[in-house]
Symmetry: D2
Subunit: 383 residues, 4 copies
Amino acid sequence: MVRVIILGQGYVGSVFATGIERIKKGDLGYYGIPLGNELPVKVEEIEVVGSYDVDKGKIGKNLHEVVGRYWEGEIPGSLESIVVRKGIHLGSLHNLPIEAEGLEEEMTLKEAVEKIVDEWKGLRPDVIVNLCTTEAFEPFNNKEELIDAIENDDRERLTATQVYAYAASLYAKEVGGAAFVNAIPTLIANDNAFLELAKESNLVIFGDDGATGATPLTADILAHLAQRNRYVKRVAQFNIGGNTDFLALTNKDRNRSKEHTKSSVVKDILGYNAPHYIKPTGYLELLGDRKFIAMHIEYVSFNGAIDELIINGRINDSPALAGLLVDLVRLGKMAVERGEWGTVYEVNTFYMKNPGPAEKGNIPRIIAYEKMRLWAGLKPRWL
Amino acid sequence: MVRVIILGQGYVGSVFATGIERIKKGDLGYYGIPLGNELPVKVEEIEVVGSYDVDKGKIGKNLHEVVGRYWEGEIPGSLESIVVRKGIHLGSLHNLPIEAEGLEEEMTLKEAVEKIVDEWKGLRPDVIVNLCTTEAFEPFNNKEELIDAIENDDRERLTATQVYAYAASLYAKEVGGAAFVNAIPTLIANDNAFLELAKESNLVIFGDDGATGATPLTADILAHLAQRNRYVKRVAQFNIGGNTDFLALTNKDRNRSKEHTKSSVVKDILGYNAPHYIKPTGYLELLGDRKFIAMHIEYVSFNGAIDELIINGRINDSPALAGLLVDLVRLGKMAVERGEWGTVYEVNTFYMKNPGPAEKGNIPRIIAYEKMRLWAGLKPRWL
Amino acid sequence: MVRVIILGQGYVGSVFATGIERIKKGDLGYYGIPLGNELPVKVEEIEVVGSYDVDKGKIGKNLHEVVGRYWEGEIPGSLESIVVRKGIHLGSLHNLPIEAEGLEEEMTLKEAVEKIVDEWKGLRPDVIVNLCTTEAFEPFNNKEELIDAIENDDRERLTATQVYAYAASLYAKEVGGAAFVNAIPTLIANDNAFLELAKESNLVIFGDDGATGATPLTADILAHLAQRNRYVKRVAQFNIGGNTDFLALTNKDRNRSKEHTKSSVVKDILGYNAPHYIKPTGYLELLGDRKFIAMHIEYVSFNGAIDELIINGRINDSPALAGLLVDLVRLGKMAVERGEWGTVYEVNTFYMKNPGPAEKGNIPRIIAYEKMRLWAGLKPRWL
Amino acid sequence: MVRVIILGQGYVGSVFATGIERIKKGDLGYYGIPLGNELPVKVEEIEVVGSYDVDKGKIGKNLHEVVGRYWEGEIPGSLESIVVRKGIHLGSLHNLPIEAEGLEEEMTLKEAVEKIVDEWKGLRPDVIVNLCTTEAFEPFNNKEELIDAIENDDRERLTATQVYAYAASLYAKEVGGAAFVNAIPTLIANDNAFLELAKESNLVIFGDDGATGATPLTADILAHLAQRNRYVKRVAQFNIGGNTDFLALTNKDRNRSKEHTKSSVVKDILGYNAPHYIKPTGYLELLGDRKFIAMHIEYVSFNGAIDELIINGRINDSPALAGLLVDLVRLGKMAVERGEWGTVYEVNTFYMKNPGPAEKGNIPRIIAYEKMRLWAGLKPRWL
């Protein structure tokens, strides 16, 4: 069994929880889960055992009720037994039209962390999945500064994700091992402060920022061009979506977190920094979870010929990430069993937009996939 | 030095010859050549030493004049010294609005082959590049039948490409080694008759059908989806172009040759035969060498979500293939030096739409690229 | 009330019949019906009173059963009372994988016409809607030749649509007035033989070829460019669909019927015949009723600048046409009441790809719409 | 002759000046000029007689030099005789990486206006064309407030465009008639303060915001859907460009000016405010004057079917507007001759994104075109 806690019970967390239960009931195949059911740990073994949020409208409700906001189909009754608990806010929903409250309003951050770790010791998760709304943040890179910030209750310096990751390391230390999957842009697997802490605490960190949407596809298309030595003159990529994350990204500082992640792919894959505009761009509420993407690439071919590619997509945002999580929680459990404390580049490089550790870059996903299979003990598909 | 003969002096052959000379003069970088100048054999060492065609308007003209039909820029004077010779026709321009004549009008096929081999013994090519217009053909798969067809002057059974490939094997045998690069859909590297002959005759064959246009991109995009276990519901791909090859493909039988090549990619990459329509579709003269492609892919993501991708491209057809040929002639020379008689899957799988030998299929180009680099003695880029 | 007979009970006829009944039940708004419910004749007054087909699997079945092949939702019970009758075949399903039989197998064409007219005199339709599969045909342009062909039972010369239109004129003459809506490419409203007959027989003809799909959009986009005096260098337009009509169009002769219709729009709107490739292109069964279209337009702007537009669409084919039919049958009834025998350009020019009479061409739909409103006695929307 | 002054000698102004001279020399046709050479006032009669800017790098240079920054081709020598003069700045290049200076640094606004009017009395323009960079502005709507702001030297309240339009009214009053063409989003033809002033001063105002780029096309496509009563569920439209105007629009306040203009089109054409995201979105310097646009429209067709359209374009921004200006300056001269003081909706509705006066909205361009032709004394094309 893989016991999972969800931090941030929004679209992705709800699709994840629903999909897992539907698979258990036999209502659904394994589509959208990269490794399908090839791993020794089976999809059916995944169990959501806890959920945290700061939206007042969700705290205290059971998962069956909350999931109903995001999913129109029949919701498995098994979700009724999990109640959403109050988590850390620290402004993660700041500026958004949501009434929010966090544990830190009633106690210091240190106390909040202790309370959460206590709860986790009761819930016994193998893997903690972070799905908070995109935050404006500052990495630490220095373990002592991170610990000081917690000790000093420095609410300006810390984000919810950073506090949760810190709590995860305390929990892992106490129970002898756990995994923290960071699916949002806040740097955790790329922040040496957290990696150092993880190694000391028997924590596995996967991160950062789940590789969904247009960016992984862009990476593979750029690799396609790079391998033909076509010179990319420019790349323009737009996104427009309707879920809370897009709304959050209309905030400039949050957007900056995302922009970094997305832009590094150009240099990493091409080897030169082709002029590009790659940003989550707009919010249109009625798109809901759907995303419209457009990409324009212009390049030079042999004998100076100029070609162009135009790519458009209509993509459901949350299922794409939720499908990756089905692998990530199982790989997290496997990494814990193997004692691979710190982070695992072979996993991150396929599943994450900004694969940690920081000194490593992006490689084409098609190759990353094979490396990841090898790490997971599976036969490569084409190598 | 790499001495090259071009069979079919159309768009691709002209862009190839021009580009090589422009690079020698320092007018052009290595863009569009997958391996740039990384190989021990340098781009500047390539020398076109002969050219064949069956268009009456080209035979007897020098390359400088012929290239002028396809390329508006300044044409290097060095092309003046090569005169286009009369080749094998066998209906390869049949139905097209071009006045054509072949050697076989004046002699038997056997005599024509002898004449050509004699000329080649004078020109001393290392590599013979086949760029004939797409043909309607029947593979042989049996060496004896092939030889009989030549002996019996069976003009219904043979195509120009098959006769040229046969001539190449005779030539290779006499001079101790040569390479034949088949850039068109006629099966040569996938036809055991030719592979057997090649092994006996010190011939290297690369083929079949140069991997340009939309199909290699489709392969990589399908691989991207396959690696996320997304279920592809359908693929529609259209092409419209304005060069002679598109005009030829309005002929049903020729089109069938192409269709096979393009369609196999779906099954090879996805592992199942998703419904697809992938065909060169239309001819619009004024597009000239430019091609307009459109692709529509619909797939199932996690939790049953339906996504779609729409890809459009405006692509210069001939430079894409000409850039690949710059590598292929050098790799051909290297294979001859290594004595790798027969065919080389590691080369074909990256450069060819229908990589021989027949029993091997398509793999994602991004991985094929790394395998090819390894074969060529280069460091892989990302593996 | 508007009493309607459907000829060819396929996708369009089934969506039409279902949609009308769903509107009556209040399940559906008026979306997709250009005039909504603005006309004096209300949508709710439309009544399907008869249906004809030549597919053995449909003849003798009731509409409720037949519609179920095309529409997954709940089907109104009111459709149970109409039984599909055997019609004229004349090869209209020739080459398609459908077992077909026509009245003409049991009798002469003249007898078949008489039988049908008799049935219609019982069913009392105001409007007969022709939705046969696209045919290969030859226009008559001469009334006597048409009548001779019927008299001589000339099955090679006549198509099902031509025979039905002839029957409609006999029926109209007998009952004092009726309308025939030709929604397929066979020329009827553009064939003087039928127009002459119609004027003598109190028949109103609307046609030819319902203006759905990409072509009307192309017309409006070309008009947009023409009004800015941008010079269109070329237009490429592709279609791929999965319904019987697309399958039928893979047949070259049928395709030619369609091509003419679609191509004339370029010259009509731009005033010059810009190079273009506009054809229904491919059949991909699993697209079902959905169509994927792609269009590429390149044009010259001020000071010689070159711009391009790329348009893609995923369109449900049958509802688009069915929505137009809801207007056309009501306008047909109105034209009968006004005694406008022959054809009505003001109606055709908005609703038809190839608006009759033959001497008139296409105008931008946006303007055609206003002219049509004026004819219908409605206020123009923007004029 | 039509004597023209350009305010803001950037891309558009330079393409305009170059194009006119190239046409006079016979180097260029009339493509991109909506009315071609149909008007009684000929294109060849247009003469640029003066130019203003606030970029230190342009002031004092002649047009031949300045145009060279934007146009790579040969520049007509006739442009050497016009020297760019210093204009009003008022922060119109604020925040942009351009060193700027305005007359108002040396004198009061009132004095600057007087100086400019004096210069104009010497240059004797018939038409003054405003091409300033997009500004953040506040409309006046009250003539007295506008005059007070000038008198009180209120530099916070006024923008360059507003000051220029005020100057134009003074100039028109003195010379007995002139036209002011406002091609940028600042409201002038939609601001009653300016309209009132214009009527008293013999000024014709055309405005606001030249109808180029994606918005007019969107208008016509939405009209196409509206006429078929298709219900538009949502519209997403993106733009990315590389000229100064896009850079300026990365500033939030300037962007807001633009957003209003673009969004109103949805409600005006559809009759309801379909959810939409229509904004100039990104700046990518290397696109230069080229713009990449992407649009996604989803709508409901008959029987509840959901269709979608995806439109992409690569458009040269400045030639599109420059081509419209060739008409606008001639129509401006005609309006002056007819004494149509104030503004002319029939002209604005075709040429402007936000056609004044304020109480009038957008109509489909295809219809607007015909109304404009009628106003200009030309035969409608299709009506």
